[in-house]
Amino acid sequence: MSATVYQEIADYLVAGEEEKREVKKVTAELKKDLTVEEGYQIQEKIVSRKLAEGRKIVGPKMGLTSKAKMDQMNVDEPIYGYVFDYMVIDNGGKVSLSDLIHPKVEAEIAFIIDEDIEGPGITGAQVLAKTKSVIPALEIIDSRYENFDFTLPDVVADNASTSRVVFGTSPKCPSDFDLDVVGATLAINGEIKELGAGAAVLGHPANAIAMLANMLARKGEKIRKGDVILSGALTGAVLLEKGDTVLGKFDGLGDVSFTVTE
């Protein structure tokens, strides 16, 4: 596949995002035999386009980090995408449905990186040593594809469904926690909808960051000092509706919330 085709598909996906409309998955018609590697090539075109438009990268994010999701997609490795500055909503802020397609929310732990981390061979322990702090987060995923229906290469091309994120406001030192047993609940309008503990993310959230460093190393890239990285969902994803008040509570890490407007 040529660079032009990657660019065309990247533009097709960005158009879906910007025009807030679902598009057919890439593997439906445009490129039926799309590979994961080609998915990342398309994702890179999206990232380059956004950077050229003046957007800034907040950090990478990990997706498909739970055993359930990996089994569902029949893969043994998670995926990554990128969070941009325009996607960040203040804690307690508003997420507008008219800006999005069919958003879902999930609870995650974010890592704020203190030193560059370059794979291969990075372990979770090494990640923790190079992590400045951890903060709770609510990630809003919004696949640009119809009905959230996609194959692995499709979701990779679509920047891993990245859409919005709300970070907590009180960073904590990772060595004060056993992140694998940090519990989280996700409540909508006061009712707990989903819950989970850190181990739901590849056994330990730091393992997801280590895997990210090792995946980036294959392309000669690395995790950078200052990156704020979403490590993957502790909970299942819940579809957002107008008027929802969403509250994520994390043991020892604090709360994160937002409301959903029209």
Partner: protein, 262 residues
């Protein structure tokens, strides 16, 4: 009529006890007797508990079952159930579950309460429970069903002592003031591999709320929860089937670990 009911209950109790002793599961009681009520089922349970205590066994406490929405939905019920814990059901932390005493055992991670004050319903609140609790411990409950292949309806499991079999407690008592039980995370591993994760809120929103439910439900039978009793407050994650040779470890935030071997 009263005698007829008593005779029937006695017969059911005997068949359950025989299944426990011979390790041959019986057909569900509700199959032959679809009108068996919850209250009758508790009488059957009590019949066998009385028999066991007459034989020299001691009541250590209670267990609460069906505390998750998923389990309640599965059985089509909207309240938990309870069973009795006897001294014969205790497995030491790290100990062996005797294979000649179980049919189709499953493992769950739970928070155990040890009481320092009696609790007598009705109108026991979650706060009452917290004030009456000496400390909490991590626990693994091994559930089993004397009903063939777990084909249980609510009265079947209640009559069968809420499908309880064995339990192990961890060794690190923690005061309720030192944890946020709702967000207390747990990870269950089998032979070193992650099986599932859970959080305190999985048990009716808060494990202490389950104990309050129990105290109030027991008031219907004029029974109180007593100082020194151990209460298993309900599973934090789905029950996992155990096979010979398996080792299960439940690791809890703030409470440490507990493990059993099959």
């Amino acid at each position: 009529m009263a005698t007829e009911v008593a005779m029937k209950q006695k017969k059911y109790a005997e068949s359950l006890l025989e299944a426990e002793n011979t390790l041959v599961g019986i057909p569900p009681l509700t199959e032959a007797d679809p009108k068996l009520t919850v209250e009758e089922a508790y009488s059957i349970q009590l019949e066998n508990i009385k028999k066991k205590t007459a034989d020299g066994q001691t009541i250590i406490g209670k267990k609460i079952g069906l505390t998750s929405k998923a389990m309640q939905n599965l059985l089509g019920v909207d309240e938990p159930d309870y069973g009795h814990l006897l001294d014969s059901m205790v497995i030491e932390n790290g100990g062996l579950v005797p294979k000649d005493k179980v049919l189709l055992p499953k493992v769950e991670g739970e928070i155990a309460f040890v009481l320092k004050k009696d609790l007598k319903g009705p109108n026991v609140t979650t706060l009452d429970v917290l004030q009456a609790t000496d400390y909490i411990l991590p626990s693994i409950e091994i559930v089993d069903s004397r009903v063939k292949d777990w084909k249980i309806k609510l009265p079947d499991t209640i009559a069968d002592n809420a499908s309880s079999a064995f339990y192990a407690l961890g060794g690190k008592p923690v005061k309720v003031e030192d944890v946020d039980m709702e967000l207390l995370g747990m990870v269950l591993t089998k032979n070193g591999q992650l099986v599932n994760t859970g959080v305190g809120a999985a048990a009716l929103g808060n494990p202490a709320q389950c104990v309050a439910w129990l105290a109030n439900r027991l008031a219907d039978f004029d029974i109180s929860l007593n100082a020194g009793e151990v209460i298993l407050s309900g599973a934090l994650s789905a029950a996992v089937e155990a096979k010979e040779g398996d080792t299960f470890t439940a690791k809890f935030a703030h409470l440490g670990e507990v493990s059993v071997h099959f």
